[in-house]
Symmetry: C2
Subunit: 174 residues, 2 copies
DNA sequence: CTCGAATAGTACGACAGCTAACTATCAGCC
DNA sequence: GGCTGATAGTTAGCTGTCGTACTATTCGAG
């Protein structure tokens, strides 16, 4: 199943879809250094699988993930639950044009409102409405429960190791 | 900086952007169980940061990431470097309509060609052209080098731990 | 052998993101 | 005080993906 270059890792654990891809590459391009591809392959797979797994919960509250992200950023910023669009775009790693678009949708749904900034007429404050506050509080409650459910198959030790490893990687690349 | 609920983990390591988000939530919604949010937050951050970090290499070969993925799937499948669109869509987790679109672009660029399947007139074979073969071989060489570079700040032990943890998570959720 | 169900690929319309260009406003330097 | 450059937000056009509907073909139960 695995090639002759199987590591101790692949012997301890069953081969997964990423391992099969690595085996294909080893056979076709034995000259390549594939030492890093496993990590990136698994990260990509996880992203593809987790996206719909998380999206479903947001949809139950009438939200897309991007919209939830905006509401959540406002909610966790604390009273008065306002941020300026540029700050939102920066923390959510979105273009400002994209943020204009999201805010248009959220405002049309009555979840946020734009208020003029009295001290800077270029800018404005995006504020959670009462309804936005209610919706995001309900959504985030379900969201964290969903996240916990997705990790429920891992032991506390495995979670700790995973979190530590992800933290290490994040610190290394940013 | 961190709240009273800081764990041993946060004491051993400097606080990052995800920790700050967790601290905000702890303060605003102390009722929530945030034990899983750190892992998902870091996975999301990694995805956002790594996407452009990988895209740059593909762009040097005139490719988008999605296009590279198709060429790579064909290349690593081995001779005769042929797959049917449905199989490509499934392994790349893309809708068949999206695959039609990608193949249109790749065919217009002369990197793949569609061949009729003599045994099933509903279907066809997508084949790497000579140029496609050359382009993807060059691109994947640079790509794996780029991946190795991105992980170069990690020790071999840290890489092994990370890969093992990701493998565990992938097995748990899929 | 035939007819309904399943499968393969595509066309079409909707949608959310991006870049670039634009308007308006602020900040700093002389 | 009045330019110059930076910043805030929006608009317009492009792109890649998706869901849905459609045609053509194959499979399978009877």
């Amino acid at each position: 199943m695995t090639t002759q270059s199987a590591t101790a890792e692949t012997l301890r654990n069953p081969s997964d879809a990423v391992d099969q891809i690595l085996d294909q590459w080893r056979k076709e391009r034995p000259d390549l250094d594939l030492s890093a591809m496993g990590v990136f392959g698994r990260l990509g797979q996880l992203s593809l699988i987790l996206t719909p797994a998380l999206e479903g919960v947001f949809a139950q509250h009438g939200l897309r993930r991007g919209e939830f992200d905006v509401l959540a950023a406002l909610r966790r910023s604390g009273p008065p639950y306002t941020l300026i669009p540029s700050a939102l775009a920066k923390t959510l790693m979105l273009s400002r044009a994209g943020m204009t678009n999201r805010l248009d949708r959220l405002e049309a749904d009555g979840l946020v409102e734009r208020r003029l900034d009295p001290t800077d007429r270029r800018s404005l404050h995006v504020a959670l409405t009462g309804r936005g506050h209610t919706v995001v509080d309900a959504a985030v409650t379900d969201h964290v429960a969903n996240e916990s459910r997705l990790l429920s198959a891992l032991t506390p030790d495995e979670r700790e190791t995973l979190d530590h490893a992800l933290r290490t990687l994040l610190r290394a690349i940013e």
